[in-house]
Structure formats: structure tokens, C-alpha cells
């Protein structure tokens, strides 16, 4: 295998990105995934396993892993960490009750060694619901400003209307693309 082969392989790999989408159950992860993929979002039931979808976005191939968020499943999240370029953390902005849970789970993930260096996007989802918290409020509730180990952004959005989903994705892809590819 010479340099030319390495370069060829790298060109292909550089165009591939692995995104891991996590969050409490009912946050809207699967809905976001289906919305991206142009699928019907009316018949979604809680995810008991995991979904993988591959999408093309701005010349990148996004492999998105969506894992169920129910409490019993959370201990298995660790099985999906390897070579993750970005973590997409989905929050139900109307679910004030579980914000503390939400914060705890997120911060537990951020100390994971295998997620070190990954970009973090927080989707403050369900903005269409009356009484949902704003992105600013969620940011405070989740104590995002204490995060120094990851590039992060919080984006308000609604999976049902599709609002701002693309903004978030654009930022993620941009952030990943703008660091050099190390193939590790």
C-alpha cells in the first residue's frame, strides 16, 4: 500500500461522518431522523433497539445512529460510541420535569473517553409546543457553559415542522469538516 492508495482511501473516508443521536426517551430523536430522511413521522413508536440511516448532506455521507432512550436501554449506549464524529443530544423542550435527568445523562456521556473530541450539538426540540423552554433556558438548565472539552452548539428546533433542523446539521458538518482528518 503506497501513498496513492492511502490518499484514495482517505478521500473516501474523509467524506464519511458518523453521528450518534442520543437523548431521553420521547425527546424526538427518531422523529428528527425520519424528518431528515423524508419519511412519514406520524407512525413513530418508541425505539426499542436502534436505527441507522445514511444521508447525503453537502457532499458528506452522514451515518446517523439513533438509539432508543428509555431508561433500560441507556446502559447500552456505550456500545455505539466508537469512532463517533459528533454527538447529537436531543431534548424535549417541553419536558420540564426531566430536565435534571437530561442534564445528568448528558454530562455522564461527556466524560466518556471514546467521545472525547467529538462535536456536540444539542437540539432543543419541540419548540412548536406552547410552553416549551427556549434554547437559552435549556442551555442554562443543562449547564452547557461548563463544557470545555467539546465544541458545542445549542439549536432550537422542531422535528414536526422541520424548523432549524438543517441549521443544526450544517453546523455539525461544518465543525467536523474544519478539523483535520486523522483517520484514528
Amino acid at each position: 500500500m503506497g501513498l496513492l492508495t492511502i490518499l484514495k482511501k482517505m478521500k473516501q473516508k474523509e467524506k464519511e461522518v458518523r453521528l450518534l443521536m442520543l437523548g431521553l426517551d420521547n425527546a424526538g430523536k427518531t422523529t428528527i431522523l425520519k424528518k431528515f430522511n423524508g419519511e412519514d413521522i406520524d407512525t413513530i413508536s418508541p425505539t426499542l433497539g436502534f436505527n441507522i440511516k445514511t444521508l447525503e448532506h453537502r457532499g458528506f455521507k452522514l451515518n446517523i445512529w439513533d438509539v432508543g432512550g428509555q431508561k433500560s436501554l441507556r446502559s447500552y449506549w456505550r456500545n455505539y460510541f466508537e469512532s463517533t464524529d459528533a454527538l447529537i443530544w436531543v431534548v424535549d423542550s417541553a419536558d420540564r420535569m426531566r430536565l435534571n435527568d437530561c442534564k445528568k445523562e448528558l454530562h455522564a456521556l461527556l466524560v466518556e473517553e471514546r467521545l472525547a473530541g467529538a462535536t456536540l450539538l444539542v437540539f432543543a426540540n419541540k419548540q412548536d409546543l406552547p410552553g416549551s423552554l427556549t434554547a437559552k433556558e435549556i442551555r442554562e438548565a443543562l449547564d452547557l457553559d461548563s463544557i470545555k472539552t467539546h465544541h458545542w452548539l445549542i439549536q432550537d428546533c422542531s422535528a414536526v415542522t422541520g424548523d432549524n433542523l438543517l441549521n443544526g446539521m450544517d453546523w455539525v458538518v461544518n465543525d467536523i469538516a474544519s478539523r483535520i482528518f486523522t483517520m484514528d
Binding site: 500500500m1 503506497g2 501513498l3 496513492l4 492511502i6 490518499l7 478521500k11 473516501q12 474523509e14 467524506k15 426499542l48 433497539g49 436502534f50 441507522i52 445514511t54 455521507k61 451515518n63 438509539v67 432508543g68 433500560s72 436501554l73 446502559s75 447500552y76 449506549w77 456505550r78 456500545n79 455505539y80 466508537e82 473517553e113 471514546r114 472525547a116 473530541g117 442551555r139 452547557l144 457553559d145 463544557i147 470545555k148 472539552t149 467539546h150 465544541h151 458545542w152 452548539l153 445549542i154 453546523w171 461544518n174 465543525d175 467536523i176 469538516a177 474544519s178 478539523r179 483535520i180 482528518f181 486523522t182 484514528d184
Partner: protein, 1181 residues
């Protein structure tokens, strides 16, 4: 270690065309159809094979661009899986479906494919049962098992407690079913030691499975024990042992890769200890060693906390295209306080476990492994592990890697060392302070070339050195590279244009591009990379002769380029590289003439008599080329060349040949190189008018040239011949252009004498030499030289085989005509004129009839081709000065000869003839006296003549056979055509016959025209009576014509009709003929001629009856068969009432076995029945 001889060296730019490039996956529908079709054809073995072959072909075709299948991948996988997973489906069907799944997986990579396999909780149970029902040793179904295990690897990732699947373990009959977890583990263990690819899938499965939280807690310790036991006990000298080791090593490497570090840390020391104690670096299997390298590297990573490279956002974006295109992408839009840079400083005081030292030590051993893949793994491992070390220790690793670059180490160590430096470099682990040690080493590696006699090893080292340069570009700030930029840039550029191997040139070009793109500090980087790109460097000749100059025109690179060629490449082991380097130096001289004259030449001159053959050869060539390039520069400066050189140099140039001769270097090993090089030196010194007139060196040079002329190698002769014109002109003529007569006389008489040598190469060399003489040397002696050459060009019985000498004499004859030029009323001894033009043409037109055959085949074709070219060249020369010299007779013969060659049977000859013919009819100025010019041009309109591909059989025959209709050409076209029609090469016979048939059809109904045509045919036959080259194919051609039924309008009503003449001609051809081929061909023709009533028929019958008693049994038998067939066709030949008797005698007699007396009796009875006279036996004379 295999010699690294990649690249054929000659024209390596050609490989581009082989690359199949697709835009999309176009065969989607066909592939789906193949899949759907399986259910209908699975019982038909042959159809299944056909389907498989097609499927494989399509999929293989996308091996280079596998991502094109992505949009359809899921759909195709599911289609196949639905067929494959039915437990009750027939075996051939599921087997083929799995085999297709495997082919797709292999093409796209299993990691991509595995994601698409279904992974619901409900998939688990059926899948497990399916796997458990497999027979692990059924070699026909390994693809099935491979796919099933891969599938299981994704299904077992369900985030779901496996215990929940085990509710009903207690069976009705009281037995207890195994737990799901145990079943999966059992499958994994079993397949880990198999001998096929299923083992890879098993390793992947087990490693995945063991990282599950529940499994980890319950099974990991015991499985690790089990694996350690295998590591300890397996015997790596047996196949089974290697299989087991591979499986276990692969699994543990993957486990430590995928698993959570903190979980696995506790096991790492013991695994490392056991693995190292197995001493697998001594194992013969490179797969085992590679796996071992992987495991050590993963263990190393487990001991150390990961760190994120702090600089990764500073060094630009992922792909270079973005950098080059729109500038470096900003990491995030400013202003938003949402994005925060993580802390860059890690605490340095982490504990480094002592095991790390062992890990690094062993990786360094694998880094020198004799196999590339092992070195690769080790290099990646060193890169990754070092990435987690504190700075100080990391630098120690760099130091150890640098130790590999010593002259005592193998090329493998150099290669591994480069790979490691690249891996360290791209991770930013080579501190800028180390660059001063690393850069010189890499520059050495970039030129690494370990000569092994006539080849060398090192291309892989050079390639890896390019990788290092590429990696630097990505990891360092421009200011850190700055001190080394010129050095790195020069070396990369030099490698990208002057490396012998195309892949290294391309790698260097890629590394250069990366540096320009990310560093931006390379001098003239953008200019160079747009010209010296991936494609441009594919062509080596262009690299040396053009790109070198382009680069040297930038002052930063001039000297580096010149020095590299002069110091390194001129001594390269490949003579083609030395020659190209010398040419390159010629082209480079104008970039820096004074440097060349004052520095390079004086350095090269001592090498011209040095001990190293390659260097000597290269140096002489280069001296010659540089002098030649300096000459016009001195002229332009209105100086003599001598003024540019230092005094010493001139002396040394003059003494080169003498030194070689004194050291007997012309005779010793490699003398051929010395001869060609000195010939080149003679030529270039003469062209540069070096003031050596009347010096002893001239005599020496003359003798070198003369010796080369007798050499058996054509290249050496050619080198001498190339030197002749300039050498003789410069040193054997006076300033007024007149020749030194004593020299002229001695040379001519010597050369003319040598033309008569009995040694063919000597004749060839001296013919070519005479052909290359300058005009002055021929003045007053032309007739003598012509006569000498013409004598060589003639076929004589004794020297029949000297076709190459004849060819060269013909070339030379044409050459001297060109040299002396044309003057209608000039003197025959000085110029081509009316007095000698006929002589020249008659010699050439004689040569075009050279059909000599020997064991090498039609060697006369060389002469004929040379003659055609000469006819064209001389004719062209004459019409450009004085067309009147050409008589109608000469022109007719020239054109008719070309036409004849254009329809003969050798492709190359035909193509040349077609090409030259069309050039001459549309020559400018026009050639006079073209026979039937208007009609010819109707057949060959100008656009068509110029655009036709004359090597295509179909076009050539179709066009030229139309000339059969033109009286002037009929004879020659037919003469050529019968040879093709009656020949043996299938395509030639096919197309030439079709053309002939088409022409004959156009004559149908026109009896007079047909008779005229057959008259010409008979003339051809008579002119080549008993000349089997023509007469045999002519007979076969006649047989074809008779069979086609296009001759039946010929009348046989009067005596001496055409059919009568044909019969008597055939008879005369085969009387007393000993060639059975020809006799049987004659029998065919006789049979065909039976169609003509009257005397032709009865004569043929008589001849056939004679052949029935021929002395060769085979002739008798064949004749009987043929007559039998013919009588069936022409039923009026035999009286009605005799038919059945005649036929039974013909078919029931064993003509080849019986005694001759018996045969004669049978034959005579036939004669009686047919009503012809019994042949009377002539007394044998």
C-alpha cells in the same frame, strides 16, 4: 524480499486508459433481475453458473468505486436476504443468494454492509437456529456462514437484556435449552479456529459481543482465560495452530479496540505478557505477525488515556480541495458564544505504566518486519501509542525510529521507519525541534535506491518518504517548516519528475500538492503543481525532457534539478534513465549555460573514464549532450565554444576516447554502452565544431565508427550511422565544403569493399553508413556507391537469406538520393539525374519483388516495405524538384507495384502500401503520369484516401479491388488479390474473397468483360508458372470462383476456350509435381471445371481419373471424394443409367488402402462407364 521492479519503464503513462470509470451504478435493473431470477433457475446448474458469472462480473467492475452502489445497497441486500434467510428454501437457491451477498460485501466492505442488515430483537432466535444448523466444514457454504456471522454481529448489538429472550428454557421434555448468551458465545468460539474467512467474521462477532455490558460482566473473564490458553498452547508451526492464533489475536485486538478502556485495563497486563511470551515475531505466517502487531498496539492504547490533538482545528479542513478552493474554513462563525474551545493543555504528569516500554520495543521490531503489511500495522501502532505519551517519552520514540535509518539496516527497516515517521508526523508528534534530524533522513529516503546488479530495490522506501512529506504538510505550522522548505520542495519535485517508477512520481506530486496547499510557502508552488500534476508525471519521457525544463526555469530549482541529474541519475542502473538524463541535461543547458560549462562539465569529465560502467556511460552521454547544447549559446554570444569551456575541459573531451581504448573498455563487459556513448560524443562534438581537425582523435573516432558498423547489434550500428554525417562533414571537408579526397577515397573503397562481406551485419552497417554519407563525400563517386548498394539489394541464390542487408541497402539508396538531390541534366556521378534515375527505379522495383522465405517466414517483406518507402520518398523528392524526370513507364510501375502490395496478405505491408499509395496520388506537387488518374481518384476520393485506416482489412480490400475494373491495374491487383484469396489467414481470406466476389458479380451478364478478366488471370498464372507462391493460391482462388458460380457464363463452345486454357494450365502446373497440397487443389479445380461441357469436361475427367491412381494414397482418396461430390452437383456428367454404379465404385473402393493394380482396375471400370479413354501409363523416365 521481492525486487521492486514496478513500472515497465518504457511508456508508463498508458495505464490510465485501463481504468474503468463509472458515473453511476448503471446495472441496477440487471442486477435486480438476476436476483429475482434465482427462484426460477435454481434447479438448472448451468443457468445458475451463468447468472453467478454475470453478477460477479458486474460487481467486480465497481471494485474501484464501490460507493456508487450505496443508494441501492439496502434494497439489494434486503432482496437477497429475503431469499437467503428462508430456512426451508432449497440449498442451491440460498447458497447462491448468500454468495451474492458476500460479493457485494466484499466489494463495499463489511462495515458498510453490516449496518444495513436487520437488527430487531425478533431477528435473534431465527438467526441463531439458522447458524446452528450449519455444518462448519461444508466448503461450498462458507459464504453463507460468513454472512450469517456478520449478521449476528449486528443483531447482538440490540440494547436489550438477552435474558429477556430466555424465558422458556425449560423444554417440554424436561431438558434445558442453552441461554442465548451461551449460544452466541459457542458459535463464536467454534468459528474462531476455522480455516476460512468465516474466522474473520467470528472475530468481529465475538469482539462486538464481549463489549456488551451484560456479556462483559458474565463471560469476559472466562473467555479471556480461554483465549490466553490458546495463545499459550497453540503451535504456530502448524496450520491449525496458526488458524487458532489468528482467530484469537484478531478477536482480542478488536476487543481492546472497541471496548471501553477502563473496563479492559485490568486485563491488559496479563494479555500482553502471554502474547509476548508466545514469541510470535518468529512465526512464519505474516498474518499472525500482523495480528500480533495489532494486538500489541491496541494493548498499548489501553494502558494510556486518550488525548485529543489540540491543534486539529488549526491545521485546516479535512479535504485539501476545500483549502485550495476557498481558503481555510473557519472553525465556527465568530460572535456566537455557544461554541467554546476545549482546554488544550493536558496534564503531563499521568503515570505511564511500565508495560509501555515493552509495547514500543516490540512494535519497533515489527516495524522492520520483512512483510509490508506487518510494518504498516506496526507503524500505525507506534503513531497511535505515541500520541498518548507525554512529550518527553514521545520524543524518545522518535529517537528510536530515527535509529532505523542506518546503512546497516535493510530496505524493509527504512520503509518501516518512513511509515512510522509519517504516522508520527501527521499526529504532530515530531516536535519542530526534531525536524533538523528528520528532514535529512527523509531526503535520503526519498532517493533510496539500493542497486542489485541490473535492478534495484527501494521504490517502496521512496514512496513512504513521500508519505512523510505529505504528513508534515498537514501537521506543521508553515513557520516551523520554513527553514526546510526549499530542501523539501526541491527533493519532492525531483522525485516527481525523475523517479524511475510512475507510482513514486505520482506520490511525490501528491505530497508536493499537499505541501503547497497547506503550507503555501513552497516557491512557485501553485505554478508547478498545476503543470506537474498526477497525469503529467505519468509519462516519463515528458518528465525528463519537458517538465524538467519547466521546473528549472524557476531559479530556486535550477541547480537542484541539474545537480540531481548529473550526480545521481546519470549513474542509474537503467540505461534508459541514463539516456533520458543526458537528454534532459541538453535541454536544461540554456537555463544555466555558465554553470554547465564551468561546474557540471568539469565534474563529469573525470567520470567518463571512471570505474563504474553505468556512471561512465551516463557521463559520456551527458558531456556530449551538454557540449551540443552549449554550441548555439556560444554562437549567439558571438564566441567560439572553446571560449566558454575551460582549457582543461577541451583537452579532456579530446582524450575521453583514448582513455577508454587504452583501458580496453570497448572490449570489456559493457563495451556496447561505451561504443554507443562514444558515437554520441563524436556526433555531438562534430555538430559543435570542436577544433579537433587533424588531431589523432579523429583517426581514433573513425576507427570506433568503423568497428561499430560491423557490430551485430542494430542499436550500435545505428549510433555509428547517426554520427557519420556530422563527423565526416566537419572533419573531412575543407571550409569551402570540398571533400578531402584521400579521405573520401579511403573511406569509400573500404565501405564498398565491406558491402561484399559474407557477414550480414557488416553489410547492413556499411550500407547504412553509405546511405548516411554527407553530400560532399558522394561528389564524383555517386555511381560507384549506387552500384555497390544496388548489388547488395539484389537477391542472389547464395545470399538469399540476407534480407536485412537488402533492406538496408534499399534504405541507403533512397538516403543518398535524398542527400545529393535532383538535377535533370546533372552529372550522374554527383546528383540524381536523367542519366541514373532509371537505374535507381529499376533497383527499387526489383526489390519490391523480393518474396524470399526462410524459417523466419516471409523475410522478403522487410525488403518490400523498404522498397515501397523508398519509391515513395524518391518519387516525392523528384516531383518536388523536377517532375519531368519521371517517365510514364516508371510511374505506371510504381503505382501498380504499390497497388499489388496493398492487397497482399501481410497486414503491415498492406497498410504501408495503402498509406503510401494514397499519399502519392494526392501528392503536392502532383506526381505525373498516374495511370487512369481520374478513375483512380474516383475510387479514392481525397478525404477518404487521407482518412482511411489502412490497417483495417475490410476497407483496404474493398477499395483496392475496385481497381480491378481499370485496365492498367487489373493485372497487379489480381496478382496481389489471388494470394490473399488463396491464402490461409482467416480474416484475410474472408475480406479479400468478399471483394473479389463483389467485383465478379458486377461483371455478370457481361461475357466480354469476364473473358477479359479471365485472360488476365491466365496471364498471371502463366507469368508465375510453377512458382508455388503464386500458382498455388491462384488455383485455390480459381476454385473459389468456380464454386461461387460466377464463371458459368464462360463459353466452352470452341476449342481453346477459356475453360480449355484453364484445364491445360492446371495440368501443366501439376505434371510431375510432388506437392500433394497443390495436386489436391488441382483436383478441386478439375471438379469445378466439370461444369463446362465439351472438351473441358472430358479433359478434366481424364485428369481426375489419372489422379485416382496417383502414387500418394491421400491424393487418391481425396480425389475420389471430390469426384463423388462433383458428380452429385453436376448430374449431367454421367449417363443416367450408370450413375448408381459410378457412385458406388467411387464410394465403396478403399482408394488409399488397396494394391495399385486393384485400384487401376476399379479406375478403368469407371473410365468405361464414363465413356472416356483409359489413361495409359507412361514409362517412367
Amino acid at each position: 524480499m521481492a525486487a521492486n521492479m514496478t513500472g515497465d519503464g518504457k511508456d508508463d503513462g498508458a495505464d490510465e486508459s485501463k481504468l474503468q470509470v463509472h458515473e453511476t451504478f448503471t446495472e441496477l435493473e440487471e442486477v435486480k433481475e438476476l436476483i429475482r431470477g434465482l427462484e426460477n433457475i435454481y434447479e438448472d446448474f448451468i443457468e445458475m453458473e451463468r447468472s453467478a458469472e454475470r453478477f460477479r462480473f458486474i460487481i467486480d467492475d465497481y471494485q474501484e468505486q464501490p460507493h456508487l452502489i450505496d443508494p441501492y445497497l439496502e434494497e439489494l441486500m434486503l432482496m437477497l436476504l429475503n431469499i437467503a434467510k428462508q430456512p426451508k428454501a432449497p440449498r442451491p437457491l440460498t447458497r447462491q443468494a448468500f454468495s451474492y451477498l458476500y460479493l457485494i460485501t466484499k466489494m463495499r466492505g463489511f462495515k458498510q454492509v453490516v449496518r444495513l442488515l436487520p437488527h430487531e430483537v425478533s431477528d435473534m432466535e431465527p438467526l441463531l437456529s439458522l447458524i446452528e444448523s450449519q455444518n462448519p466444514t461444508d466448503y461450498e457454504l462458507w459464504e453463507t456462514r460468513y454472512m450469517l456471522l456478520l449478521w449476528l454481529s449486528i443483531v447482538c448489538m440490540i440494547p436489550f437484556d438477552l435474558k429477556r429472550l430466555d424465558s422458556n428454557l425449560q423444554q417440554g421434555d424436561g431438558s434445558v435449552k442453552m441461554r442465548t448468551m451461551d449460544r452466541i458465545m459457542a458459535i463464536g468460539k467454534m468459528y474462531l479456529s476455522v480455516n476460512d474467512k468465516v474466522r474473520d467474521a467470528a472475530a468481529y462477532l465475538v469482539s462486538r459481543f464481549l463489549t456488551r455490558l451484560d456479556v462483559k460482566q458474565e463471560l469476559l473473564p472466562s473467555i479471556l482465560d480461554w483465549m490466553m490458553k490458546i495463545l499459550k498452547d497453540a503451535d504456530h508451526q502448524t496450520v491449525l495452530g496458526c488458524n487458532q492464533l489468528c482467530g484469537v489475536l484478531a478477536t482480542s485486538a478488536l476487543l481492546f479496540k472497541h471496548g471501553k478502556r477502563e473496563d479492559l485495563l485490568q486485563y491488559a497486563p496479563i494479555v500482553l505478557q502471554v502474547a509476548l511470551e508466545a514469541k510470535l515475531e518468529l512465526c512464519d505466517s505474516c498474518v499472525v505477525r500482523k495480528m500480533m502487531g495489532k494486538l500489541i498496539h491496541r494493548l498499548g492504547l489501553t494502558f494510556l488515556k486518550s488525548r485529543v490533538a489540540a491543534w486539529r482545528y488549526q491545521r485546516g479542513s479535512r479535504s485539501l480541495a476545500a483549502n485550495l478552493g476557498g481558503g481555510v474554513v473557519k472553525s465556527t462563525e465568530g460572535g456566537s458564544s455557544d461554541v467554546i474551545q476545549g482546554p488544550e493543555e493536558e496534564d503531563e504528569d499521568d503515570d505511564v505504566p511500565e508495560e509501555i516500554e515493552e509495547v514500543i520495543e516490540h512494535l519497533l521490531v515489527y516495524l522492520k518486519d520483512k512483510e509490508t503489511i506487518v510494518r504498516w500495522t506496526a507503524a500505525k501502532g507506534i503513531g497511535r501509542v505515541t500520541g498518548r505519551l507525554p512529550q518527553e517519552l514521545a520524543d524518545d520514540v522518535v529517537g528510536s525510529v530515527l535509529e532505523l535509518f542506518s546503512s546497516q539496516e535493510t530496505n524493509g527497516a527504512w520503509h518501516g521507519g518512513c511509515l512510522a515517521l509519517a504516522e508520527l508526523g501527521r499526529r504532530g508528534l515530531l516536535l519542530p525541534g526534531r525536524l533538523k534530524d528528520v528532514v535529512p533522513v527523509i531526503m535520503k529516503a526519498l532517493a533510496y535506491d539500493e542497486r542489485r546488479g541490473n535492478f534495484s530495490v527501494g521504490a517502496h522506501v521512496r514512496d513512504a518518504a513521500c508519505y512523510v512529506c505529505w504528513a508534515f504538510a498537514r501537521a506543521y505550522e508553515p513557520k516551523e517548516i520554513l527553514p526546510y522548505v526549499n530542501q523539501i520542495a526541491s527533493c519532492l519535485i525531483i522525485a516527481s519528475v525523475f523517479d524511475r517508477e510512475v507510482n513514486v512520481r505520482r506520490a511525490a506530486a501528491a505530497a508536493f500538492q499537499e505541501n503547497v496547499g497547506r503550507q503555501g510557502t513552497f516557491p512557485h508552488g501553485i505554478d508547478i503543481l498545476t503543470t506537474v500534476d498526477y497525469f503529467a508525471v505519468g509519462n516519463r519521457v515528458r518528465c525528463f525532457t519537458e517538465l524538467s525544463v519547466f521546473i528549472a526555469n524557476f531559479p530556486e530549482y535550477t541547480q537542484a534539478v541539474i545537480d540531481h541529474l548529473a550526480e545521481v541519475k546519470l549513474a542509474h542502473w537503467d540505461s534508459a534513465i541514463r539516456e533520458l538524463s543526458a537528454q534532459a541535461l541538453h535541454n536544461l543547458t540554456p537555463c544555466s549555460p555558465d554553470y554547465m560549462a564551468a561546474t557540471v562539465l568539469p565534474k563529469l569529465l573525470p567520470l567518463t573514464s571512471g570505474l563504474d560502467l553505468f556512471q561512465r556511460h551516463g557521463a559520456i552521454l551527458a558531456v556530449a549532450e551538454i557540449l551540443h547544447a552549449l554550441y548555439p549559446i556560444s554562437q549567439a554570444r558571438k564566441k567560439s565554444l572553446v571560449d566558454l569551456l575551460d582549457e582543461n575541459s577541451l583537452e579532456e573531451v579530446q582524450s575521453v576516447s583514448k582513455k577508454l581504448q587504452d583501458a580496453k573498455m570497448f572490449k570489456r563487459h559493457g563495451g556496447e554502452y561505451m561504443r554507443t556513448a562514444v558515437c554520441c560524443l563524436i556526433e555531438k562534438c562534430s555538430l559543435s565544431k570542436l577544433p579537433f581537425h587533424n588531431k589523432p582523435v579523429i583517426e581514433l573516432w573513425q576507427s570506433v565508427i568503423d568497428e561499430c558498423l560491423t557490430h551485430i547489434e542494430p542499436e550500435i550500428q545505428a549510433a555509428a550511422v547517426a554520427a557519420i554525417p556530422s563527423f565526416f562533414s566537419e572533419y573531412f571537408t575543407r571550409p569551402d565544403g570540398s571533400v578531402l579526397q584521400d579521405k573520401q577515397e579511403s573511406i569509400l573503397s573500404h565501405y564498398l569493399q565491406e558491402l561484399k562481406s559474407s557477414n550480414e551485419p557488416t553489410r547492413q552497417g556499411h550500407s547504412l553508413a553509405l546511405g548516411a554519407l554527407p553530400r560532399a563525400m558522394l561528389q564524383g563517386q555517386l555511381s560507384r556507391v549506387m552500384a555497390g548498394l544496388i548489388a547488395v539489394s539484389e537477391v542472389t541464390q547464395k545470399e538469399e537469406k540476407m534480407a536485412e542487408a537488402r533492406r538496408d541497402a534499399v534504405k541507403a539508396l533512397s538516403g543518398i538520393c535524398e542527400t545529393v538531390g535532383v538535377a535533370n541534366d546533372g552529372k550522374a556521378d554527383s546528383v540524381l539525374c536523367s542519366a541514373n534515375v532509371a537505374t535507381v527505379y529499376s533497383a527499387l522495383l526489383q526489390a519490391i519483388k523480393d518474396y524470399t522465405l526462410d524459417s523466419r517466414g516471409d523475410i522478403g517483406a522487410w525488403v518490400r516495405e523498404a522498397s515501397m518507402q523508398a519509391l515513395h520518398d524518391v518519387t516525392s523528392l523528384i516531383v518536388r524538384s523536377d517532375p519531368q524526370m519521371l517517365t510514364p513507364d516508371i510511374c505506371k510501375r510504381v503505382f501498380c507495384s504499390l497497388v499489388q502490395q496493398a492487397v497482399e496478405k501481410i497486414d503491415r505491408t498492406r497498410s504501408l502500401a495503402g498509406h503510401l499509395f494514397s499519399k502519392l496520388i494526392y501528392h503536392s506537387p502532383t506526381v505525373p503520369h498516374i495511370p487512369q488518374e481520374k478513375e483512380v481518384k474516383d475510387v479514392f476520393p481525397e478525404v477518404l484516401a487521407k482518412g482511411t485506416n489502412w490497417s483495417a482489412v475490410s476497407d483496404t480490400y474493398t477499395m483496392f479491388s475496385r481497381l480491378l475494373a481499370l485496365d492498367e491495374y487489373t493485372y497487379n491487383v489480381l496478382l496481389g488479390l489471388v494470394i490473399s484469396v488463396g491464402g490461409l489467414t482467416e480474416s484475410v481470406v474472408k475480406f479479400s474473397s468478399a471483394s473479389l466476389l463483389e467485383y465478379l458479380k458486377s461483371l455478370s451478364g457481361d461475357r466480354a468483360a469476364l473473358e477479359r478478366f479471365m485472360g488476365v488471370y491466365l496471364a498471371v498464372c502463366r507469368d508465375h508458372h510453377r512458382d508455388d507462391r503464386v500458382s498455388l493460391p491462384a488455383m485455390k482462388a480459381l476454385d473459389h470462383m468456380l464454386c461461387w458460380g460466377v464463371l458459368d457464363t464462360l463459353a466452352s463452345d470452341k476449342s481453346d476456350s477459356i475453360p480449355d486454357q484453364l484445364v491445360s494450365h492446371i495440368r501443366s502446373e501439376v505434371t510431375k509435381c510432388g506437392n500433394p497440397q497443390k495436386i489436391m487443389a488441382a483436383a478441386d479445380v478439375y471438379c469445378g471445371l466439370l461444369q463446362f461441357e465439351g472438351s473441358p469436361r472430358s479433359k478434366c475427367l481424364t485428369q481426375l481419373m489419372i489422379l485416382l491412381c496417383h502414387k500418394y494414397p491421400r491424393v487418391r482418396k481425396t480425389t475420389a471424394d471430390k469426384v463423388y461430390e462433383a458428380l452429385l452437383t453436376y448430374d449431367e456428367v454421367v449417363p443416367e443409367e450408370q450413375v448408381s454404379d459410378v457412385m458406388s465404385v467411387l464410394s465403396e473402393t478403399s482408394w488409399d488402402n488397396l494394391e495399385i493394380a486393384e485400384i487401376r482396375e476399379k479406375r478403368n471400370s469407371l473410365c468405361d462407364m464414363l465413356g472416356i479413354k483409359r489413361p495409359v501409363l507412361l514409362k517412367q523416365s
